[in-house]
């Protein structure tokens, strides 16, 4: 049972809220009012939200409160506020993917994750800003302005789930949903000092997630604590007949394992932890490296055995990703043509072909167009074999590197990102520099394995640093229990920026 059970103006957790609500200590409507007031006060200054309607929240809270008497046992997230990244469909709510091309699109159905969370008692607190179509590592690619990092308003929160990360870091909600294609949950979690989980590919349904890279995308929780991550993961995970890539055996019960650990002093005795030397080579900021090395020492103190391993093909990850993800994106974004929904170019004299081409040129932002171009090139006749087919083979070799490593260790650790949060505008003109900020997270998506970012300290500038733990396919339970033991011993998650009210 979480120790943070009272609704104070800071740091209440999803577990704490659900516990208090189900025990009758606090009404869902009161929880909602607290977070409505906080969101209305802070969201504009941070630009975390693209949609927020306090009255809709109140209506939801009332409906969940009415269910509580008879259905409490099936509501593990009773009353928990959850902000939803704006590339996830919520029926009746504007879903823009932070793009002009969907500026007026209202989702006509709920994503599977939304149905599951609602059934579990959650209250949705608006739609979070993000990089356009989840393409970016800083939330500077939104058509609706950048998000600011609550730790330093002149810095990026990371991306593409920047609004989600900033909202949780600023306590606008204890939970946010993000999506992760190349690191878009984990990297902003690291930059904002919170927990971000990317699950095994196929474990959480993608039905209702606007697709970017279909073989890479996963929805996941962004939370203040590992316990909350496990709680939300258990609700999200499981087979969905609407998603043909959904795993048949994906259901989870990780929060039971965490609960068992809470009665004693959790440790990592018997855990074999690997450090892939390739993650600690050039490009890693010295101050970040120092914090991560101290975190690894702490893992050793908790009883884990540490072993150096090699992932020899990891160095090809970013190149591989920017062929495969962009190729998939070029196909997925072909549907946005101004015909059935979304923005349509205004010139009535355009031919059909020019209507498509003008709508897309006007509706998509610069980074999205760049990635569509890259992907189209990689799939085009004459280039397909040298680029797309080659990258697919590189991907298989990267996945094999992880399989071999996990035959020797239980978990792998690395920094989540090579630096802490950079300044807004610092990398936005250099696409390669921006892409390389995902160097630690991308290989995980290529291999389909689960990974989590947890806070592990602060660098020389006082900015949060994230530690990434990786596990084999379906290894979330090992991941979460390992993360929980570290979190319990170090308590980094309790640190808050003093400026957040």
């Amino acid at each position: 049972m979480s120790s943070e059970t009272s609704l104070t103006p800071w740091s209440p957790t999803a577990a704490g809220i659900a516990h208090d609500v189900r025990a009758g200590n606090i009404a869902i409507t009161d929880v909602a009012e607290h977070y409505i007031k906080r969101t209305e006060t802070l969201h504009k200054g941070l630009n975390t939200h693209l949609q927020f309607d306090g009255n809709d929240v109140r209506r939801q809270a009332k409906a969940q409160q009415a269910r509580l008497k008879s259905e409490s046992a099936t509501m593990p997230l009773a009353g928990v506020p959850i902000v939803v990244k704006d590339n996830i469909c919520v029926s009746g709510v504007r879903t823009t993917c932070a793009s002009k091309i969907l500026e007026n699109y209202t989702a006509t159905y709920d994503a599977t994750v939304i149905n599951r969370l609602r059934a579990a008692g959650a209250v949705f607190f608006g739609k979070a800003n993000c990089d356009e179509f989840a393409m970016g590592s800083s939330n500077e690619n939104s058509a609706y302005g950048p998000v600011k990092n609550p730790w330093d308003l002149a810095r990026v929160p990371g991306g593409s789930s920047g609004g989600s990360a900033a909202a949780v870091a600023a306590d606008l909600a204890p939970v946010a949903l993000g999506s992760d294609t190349g690191g878009s949950i984990r990297q902003p979690a690291a930059f904002c000092g919170i927990v971000g989980l990317k699950t095994t590919y196929g474990r959480v349904s993608r039905y209702g997630l606007v697709a970017f890279g279909s073989s890479l995308d996963q929805i996941g929780p962004m939370t203040r604590t590992v316990e909350d991550s496990a709680l939300v993961f258990d609700v999200l995970a499981g087979f969905d007949p609407h998603d043909s890539t959904s795993l048949a055996n994906g259901a989870a019960e990780s929060s039971k394992l965490i609960a068992k650990m809470q009665s004693g002093k959790p440790d990592l005795k018997g855990m074999r932890v690997g450090i892939a030397k390739e993650f600690f080579e050039e490009g890693l900021d010295a101050s970040t490296a120092k914090v991560v090395e101290a975190a690894i020492d702490e893992i050793k103190k908790l009883g884990a055995s540490i072993k150096t391993v090699s992932l020899p093909h990891i160095k090809y990850s970013v190149a591989t990703y920017y062929i495969l993800a962009t190729a998939e994106a070029s196909a997925n974004l072909a549907r946005f043509d101004g015909i059935r929904y979304g923005y349509r170019a205004k010139d009535k004299s355009l031919s059909l072909k020019d209507l498509y081409r003008t709508t897309r040129a006007e509706g998509f932002g610069r980074e999205v167009k760049q990635r569509i171009m890259l992907g189209t090139f990689a799939l085009s006749s004459g280039y397909y074999d040298a680029y797309y087919a080659k990258a697919n083979r590189a991907r298989a070799m990267i996945a094999e590197d992880y399989r071999k490593a996990f035959s020797e260790v239980d978990l792998l650790v690395s920094p989540t990102a090579p630096t802490s949060a950079f300044k807004i505008g610092e990398k936005s003109n250099d696409p390669l520099a921006m892409y390389l900020s995902d160097i630690c997270t991308i290989p995980v998506n290529l291999a389909g394995i689960p990974a989590i970012s947890i806070p592990c300290g602060f660098d020389g500038a006082g900015l949060p640093v994230g530690l990434q733990l990786m596990a084999p396919l379906m290894g979330e339970e090992k991941l979460l229990t390992g993360a929980y033991a570290y979190e319990h011993a170090t308590q980094w998650h309790r640190q808050r920026h003093p400026k957040i009210g």
């Binding site: 699109y105 209202t106 006509t108 159905y109 007949p241 043909s244 093909h313 160095k315 090809y316 970013v318 190149a319 591989t320 920017y322 062929i323 070029s330 072909a334 043509d337 101004g338 015909i339 059935r340 929904y341 979304g342 923005y343 349509r344 355009l350 031919s351 059909l352 072909k353 020019d354 209507l355 498509y356 081409r357 003008t358 897309r360 040129a361 998509f364 610069r366 167009k369 760049q370 569509i372 171009m373 890259l374 189209t376 090139f377 085009s380 040298a386 680029y387 087919a389 080659k390 990258a391 697919n392 083979r393 590189a394 298989a396 070799m397 094999e400 696409p431 390669l432 892409y435």
Partner: protein, 96 residues
Amino acid sequence: MKIDRALVTRVAELANLKLTDGELTHYEAQMAKILGYVEQLSGLEDKLGKDWRSDTAGSSTPERPDNVQPSMAVDAVMAQAPASSGSVFQVPRIIE
């Protein structure tokens, strides 16, 4: 790999993007830089064996029983249309 204006123009056409001259210049430079980085893949020693294929390496496509399932409500879909007439999306004339 030489990225030139002709290639970028062709790619933009395939991608259904009407780009200005300024944009074509911008994307030519950016694509050259990114694809220059991606060139490292040509040096990758392939360890998969010549029989490996990406379309047969993974799991097979799952199937479901061929039963009728509900579709989206037509009104909700048509409400999103930029131009429509009843249950039909309106587009510029295709055949003159």
